[in-house]
Symmetry: C2
């Protein structure tokens, strides 16, 4: 049926473990001559041999596999391409592969759901890409597991990786202050996610450090509400000269509202935000200044941390905070 090392050994006229050593799979100190190695490789190629992963797992006790758990709800999990790339690229360097699990979209199914990788024994460790509202059944399955686990994008003291939202917000606000702005507002939607409070805190601290008065606006209406709210707000005489928006879903309607009100950006209003993948969306033909979430680095760091935990299962590691990068965009300038 399928080609095994036995077949290769027979065809090449060498021993089984010579084949194993020649293919570089065995850890043992067996040496084989270059000629044998070459012949084995040749035969393996001819026969279309592929090592059987399950057999190797059985023999070594290592799965060579890491799982990632995500939610179907966009606000609870990050499934952007750069994030996945960072994870995959880093796993590749350790010759690990990725098993991806997602909670069911349907709520009734979700309550009962436990992914296969938690019901069976098949991974070396796992990544949690799930910031809140984890179903109780699932949480219980987690906690009874012995495999190491790394949390991503949550505020936990150890075994977690997240962006450094506080510093990013402080620095971004600092840049506006340096440009000469003093009426700077922070705008956000309501959310329990730690990053809202952290970005706000970074903004506030930067304002207070410069002797300025922080002022925030929250909105529960979503993007739709921002346009109407933004237009009204920006019409008033004491409107801010600069806005720090929590994310692009907040920033874009504000940009739109400003332009519709006839304000020039950045002439009349400077705008800065977080989390915009600048290449992706240019609805208004303008690139918004942003602290860009380092998704690729996030994925990379999470995997590196997980690998350390797999190698030293009994240790705990402090949370890692990943720095943002700055993209000046086209919406930053001095106040009039």
């Amino acid at each position: 049926m399928t080609v095994t090392m036995k077949d290769i050994a027979r065809r090449a006229g060498v021993s089984r473990q010579a084949v194993s050593a020649a293919l570089g799979n065995s850890q043992s100190s067996i040496r084989v001559s270059d000629e044998t190695r070459w012949r084995v490789a040749q035969v393996a190629q001819d026969l279309g041999y592929l090592p059987n992963s399950a057999a190797r797992v059985m023999a070594t006790g290592k799965f060579g596999c890491v799982a990632m758990l995500s939610s179907p709800l966009g606000r609870l999990s990050t499934v952007t391409t750069p994030f996945l790339c960072g994870i995959h690229d880093t796993l590749n360097t350790f010759d690990l592969h990725l098993l991806q699990a997602m909670i069911p979209a349907d709520e009734a199914h979700r309550a009962q759901f436990v992914p296969k990788f938690l019901r069976e024994y098949m991974i070396d460790g796992f990544l949690v890409n799930y910031v809140a509202e984890i179903p109780p059944t699932l949480k219980a399955a987690f906690d009874s597991r012995v495999q190491p686990c790394v949390w991503m994008n949550v505020d936990m003291p150890c075994d977690a990786v997240r962006p450094d939202d506080y510093t990013a917000a402080r620095d971004l606000t600092g840049k506006l202050i340096e440009l000469g702005h003093s009426r700077i507002s922070f705008v956000a939607h309501h959310s329990d996610h730690y990053s809202v409070a952290m970005r706000r805190q970074g903004y506030s601290d930067a304002m207070l450090a410069a002797g300025l008065e922080p002022g925030s606006i929250y909105n529960v209406l979503g993007s739709r509400g921002w346009v109407a709210l933004g237009r009204e707000w920006l019409r008033s005489d004491d409107r801010p000269t600069a806005v720090v928006a929590y994310d692009s879903f907040t920033a874009k309607p504000i940009l739109f509202a400003a332009l519709m009100e006839g304000l020039r950006v950045p002439g009349d209003l400077s705008l800065a935000t977080f989390d915009v993948d600048t290449a992706e969306d240019m609805t208004a033909g303008v690139k918004i200044a942003a602290m860009v979430v380092p998704w690729y680095s996030m994925g990379k760091s999470a995997v590196e941390l997980l690998v350390e935990k797999i190698e030293q299962p009994d240790l705990s590691f402090p949370c890692r905070h990943i720095s943002f990068t700055f993209d000046a965009g086209e919406t930053l300038g001095p106040p009039r």
Copy 2:
């Protein structure tokens, strides 16, 4: 070390295969009494038993696993949440798990790259989420594989699944015609992807069938270019009264351009597009009418097709075309 069925058998005082049967893993005709079944379950629970996936794979010859291959380049692969949900939910119903592989982001690595699931023997079949520009080394690794494979989002005669772009475009254009529009333009960016040609064809056929003159505009400048181009275009006297835009990256700048020019939408201009996940983006506070790509169904159908191919490896199946759904949005109305 880890708990095995042997441990359960000893503790529960029953035979090994009684344990296997009681846990519902074995296919054999062994019957166990309810009492035994209950005691075995109890002991398994107490001991924290988990079946070893690799051992089962070894014994059965089935991996219970499907791989998906994607590209780090957004235009070549779809990694949206609904798509992944459709895939995961459907895999769950077959008790399959998903191994996800992604080509390296770095070009130098990419040329050599062959994912682990193609270098080892570890899956029952795989999904290709890669519409073009597949590196030659990778393509070669594909072609030498015996596992069944399903292509997604490409125009192939068999063993593939894709949205029915032609019908969606024809129907969408038909809706505008029914509203009374006659000057309807199709706008798109340049791309080799089959869907650009198909949507354009659907649009053209609908126009011709109504005795109207089709007219298309292409743009190589990306979203940024559309704003300037769109404003100029919409200022002219013979501007269209309705626009069918290839996707949301085309439609949104046009909406913006129209509003900046003082046109009312849909009073002065109707706008319709494809592929907008309407909940996600409301930059302008307006929901654009759209034929919504059925990503969830795409994932579901792809997995169903793959499962059929796994069960009948020697058969080929015709390509499946998935229907779009229509979201009327707020940008459709009769011409003035």
